[in-house]
Symmetry: C2
Subunit: 356 residues, 2 copies
C-alpha cells in the first residue's frame, strides 16, 4: 500500500471537467492495482486571480512542492487577457515551472491509428510518427534578463537575453539520452549553431555527451531545417531535444501532425514534484458543456503514474484503455467522425474506466 | 532603353547551373520587352573562401552596392563546414544582408496546382495556400550582442541578445502592410508577447501601425500557435510578418507545405540594392550533373524585375512562362512524377524561354 499524494489544479475553462475525469480514471485504475493515493484541489490561473488576486498563490506552490505529483487542466482565457502583465494567467504556468524547477518538458507525440485519418498530413507520412520531444523548460530566453520598452538615446527599444549554462544543458541532454535508450536510441539535438553562441555551447556539450552515451546516436539539426523535416519526414525522428523557445515552437508544430491535439499529454519534470497536463488550452468557449476531450488529461495522469507515482503498471493500464476506447469508436466532438459514437466528456471518462 | 546593372553570384554547389538558367531566361524576357540590362559575376561563399580566403570579399560587396539587383544561387557545402566560424560560407549571406541593409525578406509561398499532389499535406488543405512571409532580416538575435562560451564563477555559459528598436519594427511592419494592400489585406503579426519584452514592443508598434493602415486588418498570433496553424490551416494566412528568428523557422516550415521547395523564390530588400535567391540550398551532392531545379532561381529573377529593375511586365511574363511549363508537364528530377517529361536544368531553362 502506497501513500502518495497529488495536487489537482483544475485551472480555467474546461479544466474542471477534464481533470475530474482524469482523477476518476486514476482512482479506478489505482484501485484495480491495489494502489492508493490521496489528492487535494488547488487554484491557479484565472480562477486564482478571481479568488486571491494573483495567478499563482503561495498556498498552491507550497502544496505542489509537498506533493508527489501535480495534475493540471489548463489556465487562462479572454476574461483575464487584460489584467496587468504580471497577473496574467500564463504566469501561473511559468511560475510553477520555476518554483518546482521543472527543467524538462516531455511531449510524446504518437499517432493513434484510429485517428490518423484526421491528420492534416497524408496517411503514408503520418503513420510512422512516434516522437518524444524533450524541451528544456527552466532556462533560455524565457527566464533570461530582459528590458521592457524603454527610450535610449531617443530610440525606443526592448530586449531579451537567451542563454544557457553547461549544467543546464547537460541535465536536459542526459535526460534525453536516457529516454532514447528505451526507444530507438536516436537523439536529434536542435539548435541554431550557425548563428547563436548559446547554440554553439549547446552543440559542444551535446558532442561531449555523445561520447558518454555510446548506446545512443546523437545528431544535430538546425531549427529551421527541423521545422521542415517535422512536416516532410516526421517518421524519421525518435527523441528530439532542444531549448525552451525552440521547444515551444517545434513541440506545437509536431503536435498538430497527430491530427488530435486533444489527446496529447505532457510531463514537466525536475528533481522534485512533476507536473502533468494536456497540451491543449482552456477552451473557454466550450467550458461546462461536456464537449471537451478528457483524453489528453487522462494520458497525462498515466504519465504521472509512470514518472512520479512509481507505477508503470497503472500507467500502461490507462494507456491501453484509451487505445481501446478509440478502437471501439468512442469520440468526443473534437475528433468525431460519422459512423462513430459521439460521447460527452464524462461518458468518455467512463468508457476508459470500463476498459481498465 | 533602360541601363540597369545586376551582379550574379553563383556561389557553390548547384549555384552556377541555376543562376546560368535564370540569367538566360532574364535576358530572353528582357529582349522580348525591349528592355536591356548588363551583368557581372562575383564570388561569395565557399568559392570565395577558395579563391580569396574569405567568404565575402570586399570587391563583391562593392559591386553589389553599386548594382541595381543581385541574383544569388546558393552558398556553402560540407567542404567548408570545418573552416573557422568567421570564415563559414553562411557568413557571406549574413554579411550581404548587413552590408546592403536588407531588412526585409519576402518569401511568397504559393502552391502550383500542377504540383499540389506532392505536398505532404492533404490536397484539400494545401490547395488554398498563398502566403507572403515578410521576415525582418537585419536585426533581432541574429545581430544582437552575444557571448561565446566562457567561464563565469566556475560555470561555463553563453548568451545571445534578442532585441528590436521601434524604427526597425516600424519599417518592416510598414512594408508588410503595404504588401497586403495588393493582396487580401490581411496581416498576421507573429510574436511571443506572453514571454518576451521585445515581442511586447513589437505588438505595441503593430497596434499603432494598424491605426494608420485602415485598409489592412492586422491580427496577432503567438509563434507556437502559428507553427500549428501553418500546418492545420495554411489557407487562412495572407501576409505573415515577424522577426528574424521566428521568420527563419516559420518561413521554412511554410515552404515545405508547397510540396516543392525547388520552386520557391525570395527577395531581400532594403533601401538600396535588393538580393534575390531561391530558398533551397547548394545541394553539393548533385552539383554539375544537370539535375538541379532552376525554377526557384528563375522565379527569384522575376521578383528582381518586379522590385529592383522596375519591370512588372517582365516579372509577370517570367512567372506565367513557369506556370505554363509546369502545366505542360516538364519536370526536373526533384519534382518528377511518372507520365511527365523529365528534363535537365538547362532544358528546363529552355522550356521557360520557349514560353515567354
Ligand atoms: C503559456 C506560455 C507561456 C507557454 C510557453 O510558451 O511555454 C505555452 O505556450 C506552453 O508551451 O506551455
Ligand atoms: C544560413 C543561415 C544563417 C540563414 C538564416 O538563418 O537566416 C538561412 O537559414 C536562411 O534562412 O537564409
Amino acid at each position: 500500500m502506497s501513500s502518495k499524494h497529488i495536487v489537482v489544479i483544475p485551472g480555467d475553462g474546461i479544466g474542471a471537467e477534464i481533470t475530474a475525469e482524469a482523477l476518476r480514471v486514476s482512482q479506478a485504475a489505482a484501485k484495480k492495482c491495489g494502489y492508493s493515493f490521496t489528492h487535494e484541489t488547488k487554484q491557479a490561473g484565472g480562477a486564482a486571480i478571481d479568488a486571491y488576486g494573483v495567478p499563482l498563490p503561495e498556498d498552491t506552490i507550497d502544496a505542489c512542492r509537498k506533493a508527489d505529483g501535480v495534475l493540471l487542466g489548463a489556465v487562462g482565457g479572454p476574461k483575464w487577457d487584460h489584467v496587468a502583465p504580471e497577473l496574467r494567467a500564463e504566469k501561473a504556468i511559468l511560475g510553477l515551472r520555476k518554483s518546482l524547477e521543472l527543467y524538462a518538458n516531455l511531449r510524446p507525440i504518437k499517432v493513434f491509428p484510429a485517428l490518423a485519418a484526421q491528420s492534416p498530413l497524408k496517411p503514408e507520412i503520418v503513420n510512422a510518427v512516434d516522437i518524444l520531444i524533450v524541451r528544456e523548460l527552466n532556462g533560455g530566453i524565457y527566464y533570461g534578463a530582459r528590458q521592457e520598452a524603454t527610450i535610449v538615446n531617443d530610440v525606443e527599444l526592448a530586449w531579451d537575453r537567451e542563454g544557457y549554462s553547461r549544467p543546464e544543458i547537460e541535465r536536459i541532454l542526459r535526460l534525453a539520452c536516457r529516454s532514447a535508450i528505451g526507444r530507438k536510441g536516436k537523439v536529434t539535438s536542435v539548435d541554431k549553431a550557425n548563428v547563436l553562441a548559446t547554440s554553439r555551447l549547446w552543440r559542444k556539450v551535446a558532442n561531449e555527451m555523445a561520447a558518454a552515451f555510446t548506446q545512443v546516436e546523437i545528431n544535430h539539426m538546425y531549427v529551421d531545417n527541423c521545422a521542415m523535416q517535422l512536416v516532410l519526414n516526421p517518421g524519421s525522428f525518435d527523441v528530439l531535444v532542444t531549448g525552451n523557445l525552440f521547444g515551444d515552437i517545434l513541440s506545437d508544430e509536431a503536435a498538430v501532425l497527430s491530427g488530435s491535439i486533444g489527446l496529447l499529454p505532457s510531463a514537466s519534470l525536475g528533481d522534485g514534484t512533476g507536473l502533468y497536463e494536456p497540451i491543449h488550452g482552456s477552451a473557454p468557449d466550450i467550458a461546462g458543456l461536456g464537449l471537451a476531450n478528457p483524453l489528453g488529461t487522462i494520458l497525462s495522469a498515466a504519465m504521472m503514474f509512470r514518472y512520479s507515482l512509481g507505477s508503470e503498471q497503472i500507467a500502461a493500464m490507462i494507456e491501453a484503455a484509451v487505445d481501446q476506447v478509440l478502437v471501439d469508436g468512442y469520440r468526443t466532438p473534437d475528433i468525431y467522425q460519422q459512423g462513430l459514437t459521439k460521447v460527452s466528456t464524462e461518458e468518455m471518462g467512463q468508457q476508459v474506466i470500463n476498459r481498465l
